[in-house]
Subunit: 379 residues, 2 copies
């Protein structure tokens, strides 16, 4: 096969910078040796900086779902009231998971693609108290980014803990753990943190730590991990290559600056939406600055578009999940993306859409995207 450049434009895993890949490929060191401890210490400090918290950020060898499960098994006791906010695939997953562990789950349920309203959360909590409110910040399945700050405010007023699925949002959009009073922030290595999948994290406030429940746990026990990490150890062999890679990636992110990264994601979102609209596509995800992580585009031909992008150009986009399968395609712009990734994705979508006989306007998407990226101030 001829050398074909490949483009990973999916909302996770996301592209990984070469410096980070180089760290992945470095010789393995022992996790209790002086070769690893300084890397580990720096990585943990950088994670606190990215989460904007003074609390411990606990690392787990696990996917984002596994890291989320640490919150469930540490916080949920059977029969306790909990409120899950669900507006997509991941909200549904957390409803299933808290239910599986015996929580008495109330769900604030929205149609996929809707944006959770803090006032609805207030109403639910007025009806029935909850030990914790479980909320997805960036619902990767729909492209919606919820207003977690406002939801957290309402939840705190009602005395509930706030657990945030920030898997696809941490590092891409603001997630101010301490300033917003979030109790648990869960994320994974493979999204805006620009590292291959395999590492999950849970930043845990003292308030959450003190309200741990009675569900049995061992591998995912916060206390074991917190105790070990505080002496720069890990309770179980950590994935040293992934930790070293994450450390490099976090260095890149913090060198750019978190606020600059957030602004870049806002601009990338604007560019993707402007380009898609210019071609004549209808957006599925909201046309708003906050939803700056994934741009979901309606198209009954999405499956054909995705296949053609892959076959002709080596470009990977994601389709829809669940009921959205075959109805949308999703352009991820989380992490190591710049404007030219967006123009590449749009140009390729334009070409294959035209070849598939779709009625798309030609020659406008890239220009519209560049203009949206460059010429509008970010608040």
């Amino acid at each position: 096969m001829a050398a074909v450049k490949r483009y990973l434009f999916t909302p996770g895993p996301t592209p990984v910078p070469p410096e980070v890949l180089a760290a992945m490929g470095a010789p393995v060191v022992h996790h209790r040796s002086p070769d690893f401890r300084p890397v580990y210490e720096r990585c943990l400090a950088r994670l606190r900086e990215v989460c904007r918290t003074e609390s411990d950020v606990l690392l787990f060898t696990a996917s984002g779902t596994g890291a989320f499960e640490t919150a469930v098994v540490n916080l949920v006791s059977p029969g306790e009231p909990h409120l899950v906010v669900s507006a997509g695939s991941f909200g549904e997953r957390w409803k299933s998971m808290t239910t599986a562990y015996g929580a008495d789950v109330d769900t604030l349920e929205y149609a996929w693609g809707e944006t959770p309203d803090p006032e609805d959360v207030r109403a639910k909590l007025a009806e029935r108290e909850a030990k914790a409110v479980w909320v997805v910040q960036s619902e990767t399945s729909t492209g919606v980014v919820a207003d977690v700050q406002a939801i957290a405010e309402v939840a705190k007023e009602a005395g509930a803990l706030v657990v945030v699925d920030a898997v696809s949002s941490l590092g891409a959009v603001p997630c101010e753990m301490d300033a917003w009073g979030l109790d648990v922030v869960v994320s994974g290595s493979q999204k805006a943190l620009m590292t291959p999948p395999g590492l999950g994290l849970a930043a845990v406030s003292d308030a959450a730590f003190e309200r741990r429940g009675s569900t049995p746990r061992f591998y995912f026990d916060w206390e074991k991990t917190r105790k070990a990490q505080r002496s720069l150890d890990a309770p179980f062999t950590p994935p040293v290559s992934l930790v070293a890679a994450l450390d490099v990636a976090l260095g890149l992110l913090l060198e750019e600056g978190l606020d600059a990264a957030f602004e870049r994601h806002v601009r990338l979102g604007r560019a993707a939406r402007a380009g898609a609209k210019a071609m004549g596509f209808e957006l599925f995800s909201p046309d708003e600055d906050r939803s700056a992580v994934v741009t979901a585009v309606r198209s009954p031909e999405s499956a054909e578009i995705i296949k053609a992008l892959r076959d002709r150009f080596g470009i990977t986009l994601a389709g829809g999940q669940g009921d959205l399968k075959g109805k949308i395609f999703r352009i991820g712009h989380i992490g190591w993306f710049d404007i030219f990734d967006i123009t590449t994705a749009l140009a390729a979508v334009e070409i294959v859409s035209a070849e598939l006989g779709l009625d798309v306007e030609r020659g406008v998407a890239v220009t519209a995207a560049l203009e949206a990226y460059e010429h509008t101030p970010v608040a």
Copy 2:
């Protein structure tokens, strides 16, 4: 700092071949794309070959402990009788873990360094039945490799399931899942499978799968993972880089041949023991062919030896755990090791021991090791 060659001679993580590191550093691909599925399929098939089983080998983003926990949460129901065989750090861990999940745990407990006796298992099971017998094949903390075949035979006679911690043994010493009637074999990527840490596996027999219990679970649920894997998917984003790396490592292992790898480990163990004894050290681990994974050597100066090896030669050995701290050092020879790694470790131990003023015989360890490696037939 000048370029110093570094040697990782610990029993996990273990050294990783450059071909495998290169796979770790390759660009990330999407786990549901044609870039990944063939790799995944081949890796799963190779794992079945390494476990010598027709059963599903379930992959988890987790350490070996996490993979072991999948067996506990899927098999244990609260109050059920289980028998744990413990003769070291990992046996104690599985006792704690099964107890944490509410099993009614009976323990066949040995002093660290003793070798479990199948007749003791028989006697325990005659006293009280158990749903499962939990046994460590290679107790990495002591260097003892148990006779899992004989223990399994006794357990099967008593109608118990057999769960084997093969974390540091799979691929190094025989572990014949189907031929020996093992129900669950748990391992990790970072030992004889010559891959960085981060991937855990559990090979699960139909008998074990059918006797799943009532403990709540989600991320570690066997059914979710088995169902997804059977359609070449994963229930949660898998660590694609580690899977690709493991696939390369398993290719190397199977190219050598499992039986050849087992024989190599037997010879490496003989060499390490012969060299240590020739210098005048006393062995802690048994002087027998089966214990071919880690050679544990008694020395009150073990901490000083380990520090000097690191400072002078960039060599990492492991010390003792628990009560053995400061009393032994351990030379790992699991996975990507050859005889010259053993002679390097021995030569360096000889030099630093002499410098520390210990009464070691000089100039004999390397010769004794080479002779033991070369000149004795393996049954």
